[in-house]
Symmetry: C3
Subunit: 263 residues, 3 copies
C-alpha cells in the first residue's frame, strides 16, 4: 500500500479528464477537487485531443450516454492510449442492461484500459460469469468475488477493482482486499462514480504502478467514508455525502493508517 | 391514506426509471435512493425497452430536453404502457412556455399517463384554464385549484397532483388535500422533480391504486420536509436540501402519522 | 457600490435564463433561487425566443457544450441582444483549451455581450495576453491583472470581471477591486459559474448600469462566502457549499456593509 501517493496527488494537483455520468457529474468534480486533483469534464469530441494531452489521467464513465456521446468516449479512450495517459473505465450497470454490456465490449476492443472499477454485477458481466445484477446496484450472486475479479482482470489485461463492502483489487494474479467502508456509500448515488475518478487521480501520480494506485485509492476513499460515518449519530445519507467531500480534503496519511484494514 | 406503502416500498426496493431533468437529476436519484427505491437514469433510446421492463415504474420529467430527447421520452412512455408499468409525468414549466405545452400535449396523445404531478401553473395549463405562470414557478391565478386539478384529471383520465403549500390529489372525482409542508420546498430547485419520482416509487408498490399512491407519496414527502424544517433555526435552503435526503431515509410511518394533516 | 440592488433583486425576483454548464447546473439554479431570483435552464433552441422574452437577463456558460448546443448558445445570445436583455458570458477554460477559445471568439462576433466573468487565465486569453492557465483553474502568469481586465473590456466593449482572491471589475476605464472572499471558493467546483449567473441576476435589476451590477454581485457573493468561511472550524469544502446556499438566502445589506472591503 503506497499511501505516500496521497501526498503526491496533493502536491502535483493532476488534471483529471472525465467523460462523466450526467447524474453524478458535479459530485465527482467536487470529490476530485476536494481531494487535491483538478477535474475537467467535456462533452465535445473537438476538444478531446487537447484535453487528453493536458491531463494526468482519463476516467470514462459508461453510466449514461447517448449514441453520439459514444464516439466521444471511444475517441477519448484511443487518445489516452496514444498519449500514454492512465485510462480508467467505470462500466455502470452493464450487468443489468444488455445494451450497455454490448457497448462496453465494443469499446474495450478499441482501446486498452488500465483500470476497471465496478460493482460485483458489473465485474461479473465483464468476466462472463453468472450474477443477478439489479439496475445500478450490485445485486446478488453465488460466485466467489475474488475469482470473478481475477477472471475479468485476466480477460482485459488490466487491474480490476470490484468494489463493495469489501473492495477487491487485482491485476489477475495479486489480490488486495480493502475492508474499510460504510453502508452509507450504497445510500449515496455516485459513490462508485466518485471512486472511479479518484482512482484516476491516484493513477496519474503512480508512475505507472496501477495496481498500487488502485488499492491506495480504494483505501483512502473507504477510510474517508468510514471516518465520516463513525461520527454520525444515525444513517444520514445527505449529511454523509457532504461530509465525505469535507473529509476527502482533510484526511491525512496518518489518519488512514490508523483505521486501515486490508489484506 | 395507505401509509403502509412506505414500508412496502422499503421492503421491495423497486427500480424506478427516470427520464430526468438534467438540472436536478442527482438530487432526484439521491432522494429515491434514500427513501428506499433503486433509481436508474437514461438518455439513450436503444436501452429503453430493457430498462422499462426491469422497472417498477417510470417517471418522465419534461423539465429540460432537446428534440432528440423527445423521441426517447415518447418511446419510453409507450413502452411503459406496453409493459403495464405505472407512468408518471412531470410537465415542468408548460404553463409558462408555449413550446413546452405543445410538446406535452403531443406526448399525452402518444401514451396514457397514470399520474401527472405539477404546480398550479402547470396543471392549469393542462386543464386549459387561465393562470399566470412564472418560469419554473407556479405564479398566480384566480381559479379554484381543486376545480383546476379535477378538470385536468378528467381531461387526461388520470390522477393529478397539483402540488404547492397544500397538495391537491384527485382522480377527477375524489379529492384529498395534504396540508403538510414547508416554504423551504419552494426555495430548493428540484423539490417538485423529486416528488414526481417519489410518486413513481409509491406507484410501483401500490398494486395499481394510483390515487392511494399519489396521496401517500405527497403526505410522506411533505411530512419529511416539515419535520426537517421544524428543526432548523432559520430559513436555510442548503441545509434543508441535505437534511431532506437524511429524513427520507429515516422517516417512519409513525412519525408521518404524528404530524399528518390532510382532508 | 449599489448594495440596494440586493433588495431590489429580492423584491423583483427576476427570471434568469441560463444556458448552463451541465457540471454545475443544479448548484447554479439553487444559488439563484436562494438569493431571490427565479432560474430557468434550457437545452432546446425551439424555446429560446420565448424564454429570452420572459427573462430579466441571460447567462451563457461556455463550460461544457457540444457542437449542437453551440447553435443554441449563439441563438440565445442574439435574442438577448434583440430583446435588449442583459447578456452575461462565462468563458470557462478558454485559456487552457484552444478549441474553447476559438468558439468563444466566434460567438463574441455574433452578439454583443454586456458582462464577461472569468478567472485570470480566461480573461487573459480574451485579451490575447500571456498566461499559463491550467484546465478549469486560473493558473499562473506575470501580467498585471488590472491591465489584463481593462484590455479585455476595451476589446469586447463590455464590463469584465476577473475573479479570484481579489475580484477586479472594470468597464475598461473605471476599476473596482473587491477584496472579500475565501479560499474555499476555489475548493468548490461551480463557484465561478454561480457567480456568473448571480451577476446576471443583479444586471436584471440594475436599470442598465452593468458596472454597478457587476461589482455589487461580486461584493455580495464574496462577502457571503467570507461570512460562511469565518464560522467554519476547518477548511470544509462540502459544508461550505451547503452553507453558501443558506447564506445567499439570509445575507442582508447591513451584513455585507459590515464586512465589505473594496477599493
Amino acid at each position: 500500500m503506497q499511501l505516500s501517493l496521497l501526498n503526491q496527488l496533493r502536491d502535483q494537483n493532476p488534471v483529471i479528464l472525465n467523460i462523466s455520468n450526467f447524474v453524478t457529474v458535479q459530485d465527482v468534480a467536487n470529490g476530485l477537487n476536494s481531494l487535491g486533483a483538478s477535474p475537467i469534464m467535456s462533452e465535445e469530441i473537438a476538444e478531446a485531443d487537447a484535453l487528453v494531452q493536458m491531463s494526468g489521467a482519463v476516467a470514462l464513465n459508461l453510466g449514461a450516454f447517448t449514441k453520439q456521446q459514444l464516439a466521444h468516449i471511444q475517441k477519448t479512450g484511443e487518445l489516452a492510449n496514444k498519449y500514454h495517459k492512465p485510462l480508467i473505465v467505470d462500466p455502470v450497470a452493464i450487468g443489468a442492461v444488455a445494451y450497455r454490456r454490448e457497448v462496453a465490449e465494443q469499446l474495450f476492443q478499441q482501446f486498452q484500459v488500465d483500470i476497471i472499477r465496478g460493482n460485483a454485477g458489473e465485474i461479473a458481466a465483464l468476466a462472463g460469469m453468472d450474477w443477478q445484477a439489479k439496475g445500478i446496484d450490485a445485486g446478488e450472486g453465488d460466485g466467489d468475488k475474488v475469482t470473478i475479479a481475477q477472471a475479468a482482470a485476466n480477460q482485459h489485461h488490466c487491474v480490476v477493482i470490484l468494489s463493495g463492502p469489501t473492495d477487491i483489487i487485482t491485476d489477475g494474479t495479486r489480490v488486495v482486499q480493502v475492508k474499510n467502508g460504510t453502508p452509507l456509500f450504497q445510500l449515496h448515488v455516485g459513490s462508485g462514480d466518485m471512486l472511479s475518478s479518484i482512482v484516476a487521480a491516484f493513477a496519474a501520480v503512480s508512475g505507472g504502478d496501477y495496481f498500487a494506485a488502485a488499492q491506495t485509492a480504494c483505501l483512502v476513499f473507504a477510510s474517508a467514508g468510514e471516518l465520516v460515518a463513525s461520527e454520525l449519530p444515525a444513517e444520514l445519507p445527505g449529511t454523509f455525502a457532504m461530509k465525505l467531500i469535507d473529509e476527502l480534503h482533510l484526511v491525512t496519511v496518518a489518519e488512514v493508517e490508523r483505521v486501515a484494514r486490508f489484506a
